[in-house]
Every structure is written in C-alpha cells, then in structure tokens.
C-alpha cells in the first residue's frame, strides 16, 4: 500500500498536542504560519526551534513527518531553483545565461526553510487532530460567517468527507492497480504518452467506484435524516480547557518574541 501520502492524515498517539481543542490548534497553526513571514535572517532559528519542540511533544515520529514532505519535494525544489537563478542582484557565479546572485541564494534558502516549516507546521495540526474534530473546529471558528449566509456547516461537512475519503480512495487505487497488474497491465514502463494511456484501466474503475461510494454515502446520510446543519446538535461539543489556555499563552508569547526580535535585532 502506498503510505507515502501523509498530508491530511491522522497519526494516533497520546500527547499533549493531541489533547488540545481543535480550534486552539487551528488558531495556533495560523499564528505560526504568520510568524514565518515576519522573520528575516536569524528568526528562522527561533521558528524551527519552536516547531521542533512541538514535534517532540506531539510524539509523531519525525520520519513520518518527512514522508509527508516527499510529496511536495518537487514543488519545493522547483521554487528554490527559480529563486536561486532568477533573482537579480550581486552575481556570485555565472555560466552562460545562468547566474546565481547573493540575493537569490538568500531568497532560495529562506524560501526553502519557510515552505518546509509551513508544511510541517500544518501537518502537525492534521496529524494530531482527527478529521472529524478538525472540521468541528473549523465549523465553530467560522460560525460567525453564517450571518452572511455562508454555508459554514456544509463546507465543513464536505471537507470532512473529502478528508475521510482520502485513505479509502488510496486503498481502492491500490486494489484496482493490483487487479489490473494481475491481468498483465504495465504502469511503469514506456514514455509519458504510453504511461498516461496505461492509466485508463486504473482511472475508469476508480471514478466509477468513487461515484458509487458517493451515492451510497448520500443515501446512508439521508436514511439517517441528515438535512444540513440547521438545528443539528453535537454529541461531543467543543470546550476549551486549561491546557488550551496554556497553549494560547505559549503561542502568543512565541509571536511576541518573534515580533520583538524582528523589530529590535532585525532577525
């Protein structure tokens, strides 16, 4: 089974981060992402140290988090290369049309760190929060938008279903792929065009099955009288606890430290 896709997946463990209210984690993640854009030079050390501390507390194995990075490695490297070669400034190295500038080098490194920290920060949230809790948290946080007729509940429900279906569809893909390989299908060799064509026996059954599952799910929801968010109560309503207050204090202190260091020391 292809277990490389860890973005958006839950990692069960018993840690202080897992126990936090999903809203706390959402807000904290947002604050952390904002903090990444404050830093200039040395501030990233602070950002990474903070992230490392959170990862250690969360008990999610670091190797597991790195796997999540693999899927974005291509975009990451591409973005870094663009910045490295295309930023104007003091030229450090030149070969033909290619040149590396001091500014480009700095930009590429900063951007790389920023992106990695951003992805890791966000995946800490999804890895320590079940999809259900995550969407409950979003629904609650975006609740005020209902005044403007934003279908907050429906959006949250769609998100939770989409997240819930990722592992199911992954498994399904794996099954169909193996079934076709058992009939001699070859997904690995040939040029791009041949390979794209070889995907047809995989994609057609996958889509058919996705639609079938969607239909079944819709029917099962209706059979249980689901009719949208109106008047819907929750079995486990969200409550903030002492640890959430502590978490807010810590993340705010971190943000304050980040701003102060940036303003005073130019970090």
């Amino acid at each position: 089974m292809d277990k490389d896709l860890t973005i958006g997946q839950y990692y069960p463990a018993d840690s202080a981060i897992h126990a936090l209210d999903p809203r706390t984690k959402l807000i904290a993640t947002l604050i952390y992402i904002i903090s990444l854009f404050i830093f200039d030079n040395w501030g990233y050390v602070l950002g990474i140290a903070f992230l490392a501390a959170v990862i250690i507390i969360s008990k999610v194995p670091f190797s597991y988090m790195l796997k999540g990075l693999k899927s974005i490695a291509f975009i990451l490297i591409l973005t870094m290369l663009f910045n490295l070669f295309l930023t104007p400034g003091t030229v450090l190295w030149q070969a033909g049309v290619f040149h590396i500038t001091r500014e480009g080098l700095k930009m590429a490194i900063e951007l790389g760190i920023r992106l990695v920290a951003l992805i890791l920060g966000a995946s800490i949230m999804t890895l320590t929060t079940t999809p259900n809790k995550l969407t409950d948290g979003m629904e609650s946080l975006f609740g005020p938008l209902k005044v403007f007729h934003v279908p907050v509940h429906e959006i949250a429900m769609m998100m939770s279903i989409a997240l819930r279906f990722i592992p199911i569809l992954m498994e399904e893909t794996d099954k169909i792929k193996k079934a076709q390989m058992a009939r001699g299908a070859d997904f690995e060799s040939g040029n791009l065009f041949v390979r794209a064509k070889a995907m047809v026996p995989l994609l057609v059954p996958l889509f058919v099955s996705a639609f079938r599952r969607a239909n079944d799910l819709a029917m099962a929801m209706e059979a249980r009288c689901y009719h949208g968010g109106e008047g819907r109560t929750q079995m486990k309503p969200l409550h903030y606890h002492g640890n959430d207050v502590a978490a807010f204090v810590i993340i705010c202190a971190y943000l304050a430290a980040a701003i102060t260091m940036h303003a005073i020391a130019g970090w």
Binding site: P61, Y64, M181, R183, G184, D186, V208, S209
Partner: protein, 287 residues
Amino acid sequence: MSLKLDHVNYTYGIGSAYEMHALRDVSLEIPDGQFVGIIGHTGSGKSTLIQHFNALMQPTSGTVSWNGEDVWADGYDRRSLRFHVGLVFQYPEYQLFEEDVLTDVMFGPKNQGLSKEDQQKRAEDALKLVGVPEELYRKSPFDLSGGQKRRVAIAGVLAMEPSVLVLDEPTAGLDPRGRDEILDQVKYLQEQRSITVVLVSHSMEDVAKYVERLIVMNRGEKVFDDTPEAVFDHYLELEQMGLAAPQMTYLMHELSDNGLDVDIHADTVETAEKSILQALKKRAGEI
C-alpha cells in the same frame, strides 16, 4: 510447474504505528493440478498470502519460486509470471473498465501480446466457460447485473489461460445458484484442462465439496495443511480461530457419539446421506 513458498514473512508498515505481521514463516508447495482451498478468519493473512503467489507482493523475508526459480531474483519477468498464475481478486467486478464486455476480457490476452484474432478467441472461450451469453458481448460491462459482472471479471483472468488459477472469495455476495454455477465451472476447468486451482473461501461447505487439500491460516500463520477430512477433525480448534467445520461434520460427530456407526469424515450433504443410510441399513440388518 509448481509454486513454492519458503519461510515467507510479510510485515506491513515497518517502523510505523501501524506495523503488522501479516505472514509469519509460511512455507508451502502447490503441485500441478491440485484443487487447494485456503480458509481463515478475516485478517488471517489469506489475501496477503495469495498476492505472493503472483509476485504482486514482495516477501519481507523468505522466497517465492515458480518452477524452481526465485521470482524476486534480479531480472525475473514477474509480468509474465502473472499470465501463468492468474489471480482473481475479491469483488473483481470493480476492475472492469472497457466500453464493452468482450474488449474488457481481451485486456489480459492483449497484454500477453497475442494477435487480435487470438485475443478475441481467448475472450470468447473464457466468456463461454463462465456462462456469459453472446448477446452481452457488445454491452457495456457497467450495465450488467452484479452476478454477470462477476463472471465477466473472472473471464478476464481465465482468458489469459493461466496454469494456476487463484480465486479470492469468488462467490462473495452471490446467490446460491450463481455460487454453485461458478464453482462447478471452476471444478470443470481444473479437471478438463488440468489447471491448478487455489480457492480462498469463508464457506466450509464450498471447501468440503470442491477441494482436495485445505490450508488453514490464523494470524498470519499456516495452522493446518491437509485433506479437508483431516482438517475438519480439528473442528474444536477451528472454532477457537473463529472458524467452523461444515454443518455435516457436526451432525456426523453427534450421530457417531450417540451410537450410530457413521463415517465422521463425511462433510457434504451427499456423502453424509449415503453414510447415514448405510449405517441405518446395517443396524436394521443386525436387528
């Protein structure tokens, strides 16, 4: 042309929180022409085991060999192995994808590199074997009923004319008639074309009726590997694994315990009937 597994282990998700030993030290050999049954509780490693048969899964340790050659050796053509060891997955109807039934069944032979005529001939033969009527050949596979889709999917593997046919719960979710038809057809194939058949099943009745050798899997280990009669003698142990012997085995044991001289190894309705009648006659003769 035998298939051999030697001390095969398989572990899922090594090093993660989901690590699981799906197979533990499994060794077995399947000679030509045998009708083998594999039973086991859900999660006992049956499906993992059969995916080692055609090299869809690579053992964590141990070797899988076909005709004495290690299929995971460098440069071994595992794709052509899959034409020899045909594997029909559970609910195979979900793998159908072509515009019409015939083209879908031709997918296997096409991958084998056969000519268009041969592909079509193979496909038609296979469809005939599983009992799909000719008027359905040009229909979309998605318009067929569940049972017909299942037959088409099985034909898709049969069309490759494998020498070993592995079926994972081929009758799950079918009605009794569809079930008997498909299994009778498989038995016919095994006898007429002398192919090897491996049947994974939950149904003790099916296993008792068709197979000549029975492998029982429990928690990734091979627990029993013998004739069905000999395996069903351990019916109390089977129950502890969440399995059971066929209904008839229970009946025959009960009768035998109560003093009727019946064959406790009779495990199908037919053999049980014969044995009971014989015992009754014998008793009547004695009186």
